[in-house]
């Protein structure tokens, strides 16, 4: 499954009918898009967190205001109790001032917690009643009716303070419950955001890896195929066709390669045919040339042996020239004939026994002096095996031979399934080495 997916992805990208440049551009845009979304999500979450923090701060303010009202209530009761114990004007004045402070804090509460209108209305009612009762208690104290004041405080002020406390408790609890809900919501939101961010990060990562993998292999695979195809072409295989799924520049390149391969194949066939015709022509020509040449050499030898009478010195010189020229020409024709036979595939090998050492010694005696004398520059080493090429230090000087010896040698070695190579240094001589299989 995963293997087929790994194969399918690059193929799908390769088949996409857009250029490589656009593919890369789209891949980058996709990643940039994901990063943008990730950034947007993060910013949104940050904004939400900020909003939650502000809401929590508001709730904290509310709770502080509620607690202040609770504190005021307790303080008021304490002040009234103090006034009952120490009924001087200063204590009474302080108690009345605290009533004013209570009202101030209540106004603050209505400003801070405007959304709790229903409970605040009840708080306000209780507060009005409480201030009325406390004022009455203070008035009774001023009048010296301490017992009545104490009774009024116990029976009315105390329960009203309790009621106020419960109302403010309710406000506190509501605010705390809101905080708990918001914190839970924030926790849930954080968990969601966390997975969202992780998801986006993983998504971006997998997208980057996936696109990188798919795009790179959609390029590398056809390039490798083309490289292999070039090697095959170099080896002379023009028959195969390169099949790549790409519909981009590489697809066009592969199509061009296939066209070039076909063209080269056709040209190769034409050249091969022409070479074969050339070889056949040379073989025929050599044969036709050898017949009169044999007559020339034969008759010149008869004349040189004085079978038809004495020759003067000049005639003998001319005959000698005719004979040596004929021999040279025959040798040349024989080599051309052998080469043509090999190229035309008409040279057949025959197995027979011979003395390798004697043959090698004979060959060495023929070529040692020349091989030691001549050295060949490195860049020309391959040229010595080409037809009609003679390589030496003095290229202007007329060379001996036909320039076909080493060509024939190479072809014969290769005909045996072997190979020949050369190590040479100008001025120091050359070493020719060949290897042929013992059995083939």
């Amino acid at each position: 499954m995963s293997k087929s997916l790994l194969r399918w992805l690059p193929d799908a990208v390769a088949r996409a009918p857009v250029s490589i440049r656009r593919k890369l551009l789209l891949a980058f845009l996709a990643m940039v898009g994901l990063l943008f979304v990730l950034g947007a999500v993060s910013v949104s979450e940050l904004r939400h967190v900020t909003g939650q923090t502000e809401a929590l701060v508001k709730l904290e303010r509310k709770i502080a205001a509620y607690r202040q009202i609770q504190h005021d209530t307790t303080l008021q009761l304490y002040s009234v109790s103090s006034a009952l114990l120490v009924p001087d004007e200063r204590t009474l004045g302080s108690t009345l001032r605290q009533l004013g402070q209570f009202g101030y804090d209540l106004d603050r509460l209505q400003y801070i917690a405007a959304d709790e209108a229903e409970i605040l209305a009840r708080v306000r009612v209780d507060y009005e009643a409480f201030t009325t009762v406390v004022s009455e208690v203070i008035e009774l104290i001023r009048q010296g009716k301490t017992a009545d004041a104490r009774r009024l405080q116990t029976e009315k002020a105390g329960p009203l303070a309790d009621s106020l406390e419960r109302l403010t408790n309710e406000l506190v609890n509501r605010a705390e419950a809101d905080m708990v809900a918001r914190i839970d919501e924030a926790r849930d939101r954080f968990a969601t955001s966390q997975w969202l961010v992780i998801g986006f990060a993983l998504g971006s990562m997998f997208l980057a890896l996936g696109l990188g993998y798919a795009i790179s292999w959609s390029i590398i695979r056809p390039v490798r195929s083309m490289d292999a195809r070039f090697n095959e072409l170099a080896a002379g295989d023009f028959a195969k066709r390169l099949d790549v799924p790409n519909r981009d520049e590489l697809g066009e390149l592969a199509a061009n390669l296939n066209r070039m391969s076909a063209d080269l194949g056709r040209l190769y066939n034409q050249i091969e045919t022409a070479t074969q015709h050339k070889s056949e022509f040379l073989a025929n020509m050599s044969h036709e040339l050898r017949t009169p040449l044999n007559a020339i050499i034969g008759f010149s030898e008869v004349l040189m042996e004085r079978l038809f009478g004495e020759l003067n010195e000049k005639q003998a010189d001319y005959l000698n020239d005719i004979h040596s020229s004929g021999k040279h020409l025959l040798s040349l024709i024989n080599e051309i004939l052998d080469l043509s036979k090999i190229e035309a595939g008409r040279m057949e090998l025959e197995r027979s026994s011979f003395a390798v050492a004697t043959t090698v010694a004979d060959a060495l005696s023929l070529i040692r002096e020349r091989a030691q004398r001549h050295g060949i520059a490195l860049e020309r080493e391959t040229a010595v095996f080409e037809e009609f090429r003679q390589v030496g230090r003095d290229y202007t000087r007329k060379q001996e031979g036909t320039g076909l010896g080493l060509t024939l040698t190479k072809k014969l070695v290769e005909l045996h399934g072997g190979k020949i190579w050369l190590e040479s240094e100008p001025g120091k001589g050359s070493t020719f080495t060949f290897s042929i299989p013992i059995k083939s």
């Binding site: 419950a177 809900a181 839970d184």
Partner: protein
Amino acid sequence: MREHARYLGRRQFLSRVTAMGTASLLGLSSKPSAAEPPPETTTIRLIQIPSICQAPQYVAQELLRGEGFTDVQYIKKAGARGISEALASGEADINNNFAGPSIVRLEAADPIVFLSGLHAGCFEVFGTDRVRTIHDLKGKTIAVLELGSAQHVFLSSIAAYIGLDPRKDINWVTHPAAESMQLLAEGKIDAFLGFPPEPQELRAKGVGRVVVNSSTDRPWSQYFCCMVVGNREFVRKHPVATKRALRAILKATDLCAREPERAARSLVDGGFAPRYDYALQTMREVPYGKWREYDPEDTLRFYALRLHEAGMIRSTPQKLIAQGTDWRFLAEIKNELKT
């Protein structure tokens, strides 16, 4: 085990006479309201546990009959867990239950619904000389009936309120209440939370010191400790019966506040309390007369916050209130029973 009130024994007779007489005296007529249809069912099933802070529902026996329930059943259970289980399973229809444990059960998706507050201030925390404040409970041993019991839940809330982690900072041991009181007397445990008549008994015997008295100590004194809870299906199917039952219980609550002696006598005669003196003390000490003043929803909110702090629930107060309360009947009854 069920006790069906099918015939009157001597005690039942006296109890009914006492309750009917008291109700008449208080103007709490036991006749069903003429404007209301009769209850959808004439059977009402409540629970009886050893704690007598639930006195109103025991005292309400005759008032329930007056509301049209001809078959009033009290199913005996060992403690608050029994109440929760019976209400959730539908074995009981309506009952008083402790606020904290009921919230825990509500979050656990028990099909229950809060209908009203009943009273505040029934529990007291007793400690040895080693425990003078709640903070001293850190690292101490506390006996409860079982983990998840009313004692455990309330004490966890109280500890969490000052920042203790009840799961780590307190060594909980489980014993029956009577055994726990004995262990406290012997100094083998450090603290114990009792419901009436246990605090009365401990005080009478001079065992331990009161660390928290929920009838006077803030913030606990400002909230209901016990609330009326109904089986959700019963409430849904029998709204008239629910309202009538609740009204009877709340009338009985007034009765407990105004006539503690009669209420205590009724409890003893009805077989709900073994000792008159402890029952009377309970009637006098528990502020039964404040059910109109306290806000049951805020009690739920307060305890939900405390249990949330203690890590015993995860739901928000808003969610619990939304899913498990029905104050319609209370609002109507408050209007009807204005004093």
